[in-house]
């Protein structure tokens, strides 16, 4: 199409300006701040140049590495459970779900509601004194005493380091398993009908069908779902902030929460910016890996 050569830039200007001000400038500011010692509320002129001292501190900071470890523990369990349950359910329910659009609607709900609300609901359910979970665990434990040894009794869910981790994992699995389920289901329904038909005619049973035909064909979609869940693990903050605030102690303080508390509680902005850079680098690397499997520009030779 013949156009004035400035027209494309005019069309892009508003979006690029917003992206620059809203994402690139804050990133640039983080890079710059990471070389300074600057406290919250101080005038900018009160900053102190530190060189690479913040980066050296980052490499040896036990708090940061503990939070990285916590992120890995949290991430390992939520990603494993969500992938297993989400893929399993999609395979089992592939057929019935075709007609069940109302139930499909229900599975979308957890993805749409505010993380703050997810956090406060689970905090209420798991409340040690008034929580419904504890009430029914106690009831079951009293009815069937041999189950008490398996944990069917009142637990201090959010006050015990291990149980607090279990609690945030449960809330994440509740909220995000439907995401994996929906993506895999969409993939299953997009599989070519003639290939499936040929496999059935060849006498493949459900198990062989799943293991040798469907899952290999879904490989890319499974990888994309996995990568998106990993990326979200590093972004997760609000639900944990509301449920445990990182506690007890630092048992559930994931990296993004460590960043937030360094900035807001410790008010150590220079160092917080350094942690923000670490988190940004991790997420940019994963974004690039994700682009290798799912790129809107791929197959469009003109880019």
């Amino acid at each position: 199409m013949r156009t004035n050569r400035f027209v494309p830039y005019l069309f892009l200007l508003p979006a690029v300006a917003i992206l620059a001000l809203g994402l690139l400038v804050p990133l640039y500011n983080s890079v710059m701040l990471s070389f300074y010692d600057w406290g919250f509320g101080q005038p900018w002129s009160a900053r102190r140049f530190l060189g690479f001292a913040n980066f050296e501190r980052l490499l040896t900071d036990p708090g940061v590495w503990r939070s990285v470890r916590t992120t890995f523990v949290f991430g390992f369990w939520v990603v494993t459970l969500e992938m297993l349950i989400g893929v399993g359910l999609a395979l089992l329910l592939e057929k019935a779900v075709r007609g069940a659009s109302f139930i499909r609607t229900i599975f979308v709900m957890p993805l749409m509601i505010a993380p703050v609300v997810v956090g406060l609901i689970w905090r209420y359910l798991l409340d040690a004194r008034n929580g419904i979970v504890n009430y029914y665990l106690t009831e079951i434990g009293e009815a069937l005493p041999f189950l008490q040894a398996l944990g069917f009794k009142a637990q201090t869910w959010l006050a015990d380091p291990t149980l607090a981790m279990v609690s945030i994992i449960v809330s994440d699995v509740w909220q995000w398993t439907p995401f994996v389920f929906m993506i895999v289901l969409a993939g299953l329904q997009g599989l070519p009908g003639d290939v499936m038909e040929a496999a059935y005619i060849d006498g493949a049973n459900w198990w062989r069908m799943t293991w040798h035909v469907k899952l290999p064909m879904l490989r890319n979609i499974l990888l994309i779902a996995l990568l998106m869940r990993i990326i979200d693990v590093f972004r997760a903050l609000e639900v944990i902030f509301i449920m445990t605030g990182g506690g007890p102690g630092s048992a559930t303080r994931v990296l993004s929460l460590q960043l937030f508390q360094t900035a807001f509680t410790s008010q150590d902005l220079g160092y917080a910016a350094t942690i923000a850079l670490l988190l940004s680098v991790v997420l940019i690397v994963f974004s690039i890996v994700l682009l290798l499997f799912s790129n809107p520009l791929k197959d469009k030779a003109d880019f």
Binding site: M1, P8, L12, P14, I18, N29, R98, R104, I121, I284
Partner: protein, 307 residues
């Protein structure tokens, strides 16, 4: 197609469809697990403090709207609702307009820098609000919208200062929420524009339309579905986001998630009021889900399947 194929095709005897029944049973159990926590929130919001703190959960109770009454009459609920709505709808409108224009330029025009802009949006799309929050605390809070680039100071025109209806903190949030949603929206709309035959635009230009007219009269009206998906996802972030809102808003411009979090007090949690605010926060997204579940699933899988 696949629908005509059944793995049990060799069975011709009439019998109860156990497979079907067990799948439906499983679905109903899963749906209950999904909805139960949300249902508990709604139920709790309709209970009195005494009922909430009773040792035995009471499923049968006389619903009362006293928690809702409290948050509306004793707290500044209405201004916060307006603040949330302005930020939610404002970011959505700005995102659709700017993403639509950008997607059109990327989909239909050739120009130097096109690849660079495209790749950059894809690489920075996962930056989380927590990272932005650091600079928000540093540079934005003390001056409303503040020194964005240190050394260059932006001052807001009168009438957009603190405490006014639309103040710097709300504009700042709209900027961030739009920026966080633009990459996804641009690529979603890009895909939709690519499917529109270019002959339509050429015909309009032959008829004497300029490019803006082509965009607003020919392209945008054909993109209802794309705009719907993009709007749902933008509104979801802007309405639900907590960390940046906590950082940026002041006591006049709080959004509802920030307001809800304030019922967690040192001396305990005011569950009733908190659940009432929580219920009101989830109603708009739940309505959206009921009316547009198909579009939401399309958007979720667009991220995975098409990119």
């Amino acid at each position: 197609m696949a629908a005509t194929v059944t793995p049990t095709g060799t069975h011709h005897r009439r019998r109860l469809p156990w497979g079907e029944i067990s799948r439906w049973a499983a679905l109903i159990v899963l749906a209950s697990i999904t909805m139960a926590p949300i249902f508990v929130m709604f139920a709790t919001s309709l209970k009195t403090q005494v009922e909430i703190q009773s040792a035995v959960p009471n499923w049968i109770f006389m619903p009362t709207f006293s928690n809702y009454q409290t948050i509306i009459t004793q707290y500044r609920f209405t201004p916060f609702l307006i603040s949330s709505a302005v930020i939610g709808f404002g970011s959505t409108a700005i995102t659709l307009l700017t993403a639509g224009m950008a997607a059109y330029a990327l989909a239909r025009m050739r120009f130097p820098g096109r690849g660079l802009i495209a790749q950059t949006t894809l690489i920075i799309r996962m930056i989380p609000p927590a990272v932005l929050a650091v600079t928000v605390i540093g540079f934005w809070i003390s001056w409303g919208i503040g020194d964005i680039v240190p050394g260059i100071r932006f001052t807001l025109p009168d009438g957009l200062g603190r405490g006014n209806f639309l103040d710097g903190s709300q504009l700042g949030l709209m900027l961030f929420y739009t920026a966080l949603n633009l990459p996804f929206s641009i690529w979603l709309l890009f895909g939709f524009i690519r499917q529109i035959p270019v002959e339509l635009e050429e015909a309009a230009i032959v008829d004497g339309a300029n490019l803006l007219q082509v965009l607003f009269r020919v392209i945008f009206p054909l993109m209802g579905a794309g705009f719907a998906v993009s709007a749902i996802f933008t509104f979801r972030i802007a309405w639900n986001e907590f960390i940046l809102a906590l950082m940026l808003t002041n006591r006049f411009t709080k959004t509802l998630p920030v307001f809800a979090s304030e019922f967690i007090r040192e001396e305990g949690v005011l569950w009733g009021q908190m659940m009432a605010v929580g219920s009101l926060i989830v109603i708009p997204p739940m309505l959206l889900t009921f009316f547009a579940a198909r579009q939401i699933i399309q958007g979720v899988s667009a991220g995975a399947v098409k990119g």
